[in-house]
Symmetry: D2
Subunit: 308 residues, 4 copies
């Protein structure tokens, strides 16, 4: 079993897709290939069964099967975070414990859709962590565009202050640059310096690194870019990092479209030989001929720039 | 196995609670008692594992266990509809088929949260029913206050026209009186006369019956009122039906509060000797001392009126 | 000029409709008649140009014209609160100052739609009150069903603590009974005892009075009921108050339907001889024949009960 | 008076900011300078008083004053579209008529916030255009991220079929690429070929042009880029157009952040000598030191690339 996640986590934690066959069955062979691919890209960690991993469309048995296959293939080389958000807290906790037993470094939880006030968010995390127990490291996923639960900096501060086991923020509020900067000032007033990895496909990654992010946790289909950008930045070459990022920005932006973005991302991974099929489970988007042609052009333009 | 649900369904289909022990475990003894209670109240059908049945907080195994216990106890005396809404369509279909195999009369599906346009709703039902197959009778649950998916009358018409297997509308849009009347005019223009049962705790039941509803599908904790109101109305005594309804209206209104309403409903069932515990699974509301006192007063007032 | 609004305000502050001719022009003759009617009903105060007063559909000149007509007719007999919510803060402040100059007791402000986090709500009120100045008494309208801005008790506490000029809460969050009770405990921890008047058509008025409300601020078309219920309650007859309320509850519930409720309310006022026309400005709901027939029945049933 | 807007409109219709002094007063001198700047950039048209023009924060008198100043300065050289969205339809129509009298080519209307079903959107436009009269050319602004009113392609088709006076779609749904392509197929089934100009800061402009857009209507602070991209594209150099676009993409993306984007846009215009002040009216965002530093870097990087 690997080390537990802590506040010093940094670099690129790739959000893993969940590979399916064309007919929607779990594709475990592609799962192995995908894990190998991510490792070759140099990622520092991996997050599975997140929102982009189509977790709610898997049965508990499928979630277990996929999770165990990933752990087997990784064999402890990098830490793995498991998304455990669930409408029922008992089921959330049971799955989190099985993930930790299987070797997870921590679990990721987003505020449940339907929470209205920030007091309710505070209470939701208090109750959930009480049931989960204090031993499980937790990533707070702040993603109001999807959860419909906005959380202000003051409320995040309170939740992180109350619960030392929450060691990382997956930062994907938007706009989010100022928010990120404000969270980084917490140590000035007795608060914690937590790990912050950014999501949203990395759309603002260079700016977020300059604001104090520790890296990215997102599923961009060219993980090698994310890895190199972070390495250059932390080696002191912020402008070189941003130059590389900007080369990929047209595709970052294209992948970042809500809904269809997941289908685009899986199709790029398919074209790159990682996945056997780009299938997204129903209900989900499918690319049509125009979408494919558009992607042809964007990928060809990227290759031309990289080759130049 | 019972008869399949069809467009002539009417009367009171009670929405069943899912009974838990204080610690959150399924309470199958209370399940039996609850089924007996509903049957003694004279309900015409039952709906289990709906939104109010806390279905998303149950594991698939728990859903199966609860469902089978209900079917065993009912033993075919009344038709049962099973809520099968699910973020993944394959899982939705698999559970629907197991429900039909176990003896369900039909299944209930709400448009998935996250659908934005009405075209997406049309496509969602087309794709879902394609995967489900044409043999399963379906109830369309129109509940935008919870799903966040408003559906106009024209779109409902299109979906019901396209899919004869959808035989019933669970009508709980609000405001909804005019919408109900408009749906009732479909036969004037070549459309279907579907079954319409109303939800929302029955808050507007007398008006809805006058507008053409066939009954109620809701979980009000005094089902005998729903049953008597419908019987009186269909026996031609609309005013007598409304008099009885108005006697219970203060509690109908009190139960109809979002969120806490479920806790109130379960507590009334507990006080009436139906459930051993009023527990709602986390995350969920709990009554405090003030809430209990308030309910004491409302229930005492009702008893005084009924006794008078 | 009348006295300024303070924390001891109580009783019934009726929300005034804005009367229009059938063609949508302001109807100032009906305005006079409406003011007289409200005064005859015994209301303790009046609120004009609120959400139900169709304020955003009036030009600034029309708002001034209507406001001045109301002030002239009332002639200082009861305090008047003026709704001043506005997408632009400078325009909000300018109109608020003209209202105070004309004799208003205070102004009502709701958090602007589009605010996402509670920090933003706190900042919105701080900035707005800075521009408004400390002399204007303010009512905080907490109406998330319309504003889409939920505000928790802790945030309300902070805003009321920070700004002594906010003297009243228009309480219409739903569900809201527990929230009301929690606000009433503020004095136990060094907080203020503010005035709380409840909205939402008074749907839960008896329960809200028992929880500590000081009265109602709503536009129910039978204001005499609101007045008598409050008087009986504060005279110590909580059950008598609730008996009277329950008699009107079927219409309270009917009027409380979102959107069409305003058209129903204006139609009842028209039938009672208060308004010359029930017109709602476009875009707005219109009653059709079925809606009228339904209202006939509900009003006849009420009269029968009151006559009995 | 200029020509009326029609379905053949194309190119870049710049969305004009509304310039304010630091204290929030209208800045008419900057208005002149801004108009000159836009004309020098080669824009084909202009849109004023849109959502980004802070129109709801202006009084009707201020809207008139700003509008007349713009018309005077333009002196008929390019067509001007005036945003007239308003919570009240009579006020909408009155302002639209005064805009047309003053020389507008057409007006822009978005579905009013609060509309729930697409039937309501259809009815809203029918009623609004009935009051507006058939002579006023209309742009339909499809911007659900702000209006919260999603509209499907079928509903757009119906509205455009019903109302020949609606000649242009401001396309800013997101994701929107497939939607744009679907609208372009209308002529294949007897529908109209309307003008489509894209918004959203132009974030997907090269893809949207390839999908059939006629140009852009957005307020990007480097309008010369939008102009050159459209010219190159329509001259047959799609790749050259996209190369130029990609050079500016880092700032397009940065400006496209909700809320703070307007403050960034105005600040760039200030730095470029167009506006005297970057002030946004309250309630509105303000840049802080970190935001400025970030913008320094992004603008310097752009200049370096352009200079290279």
């Amino acid at each position: 079993m690997g080390e537990k996640l802590n506040e010093r986590a940094n670099g690129v934690y790739i959000i893993a897709a969940t590979p399916f066959e064309d007919d929607g069955r779990l594709d475990l062979a592609s799962t192995d290939r995908m894990v190998d691919f991510y490792l070759e890209c140099g990622v520092d960690g991996m997050t599975i069964l997140g929102i982009m991993g189509e977790a709610p469309k898997l049965t508990p048995d499928e979630q277990q099967g996929f999770m165990r296959r990933v752990f087997d293939r990784i064999a402890g080389r990098i830490p793995v975070i498991v998304g455990v958000s669930n409408p029922g807290t008992n089921n959330l906790a049971a799955f989190a414990h099985s993930a930790m037993d299987a070797g997870a470094a921590g679990v990721m939880i987003a505020p449940m859709s339907g929470l209205k006030t920030e007091e309710q968010v505070v209470n939701y995390f208090a109750e959930t962590l009480r049931i989960l127990g204090p031993e499980v490291p937790v990533v707070f996923q702040d993603y109001p565009q999807v959860t419909q639960v906005p959380v202000s900096v003051a409320t995040l501060r309170r939740i992180f202050d109350d619960h030392p086991q929450i060691v990382m923020l997956k930062h994907e509020d938007a706009p989010g640059l100022r928010k990120l900067g404000q969270i980084r000032t917490w140590p000035d007033t007795g608060g914690r310096r937590i790990s912050i990895l950014v999501g949203n496909g990395g759309l603002h990654l260079p700016q977020e690194l300059r604001r104090g992010a520790d890296g990215a946790m997102t599923g961009f289909a060219y993980p090698e870019m994310l890895v190199q950008v972070c390495r250059r930045f932390f080696a002191g070459d912020a402008d070189g990092a941003e130059d590389l990022f900007d080369t990929y920005l047209p595709i970052v932006r294209h992948e970042q479209q809500a809904g269809i973005g997941l289908a685009i991302r899986k199709e790029i991974l398919r074209r790159r030989g990682v996945l056997a099929s780009a299938a997204v489970r129903a209900p989900g988007p499918k690319l049509n001929a125009d979408d494919h042609k558009e992607l042809d052009s964007l990928m060809a333009r990227l290759e031309a720039k990289l080759g130049g």
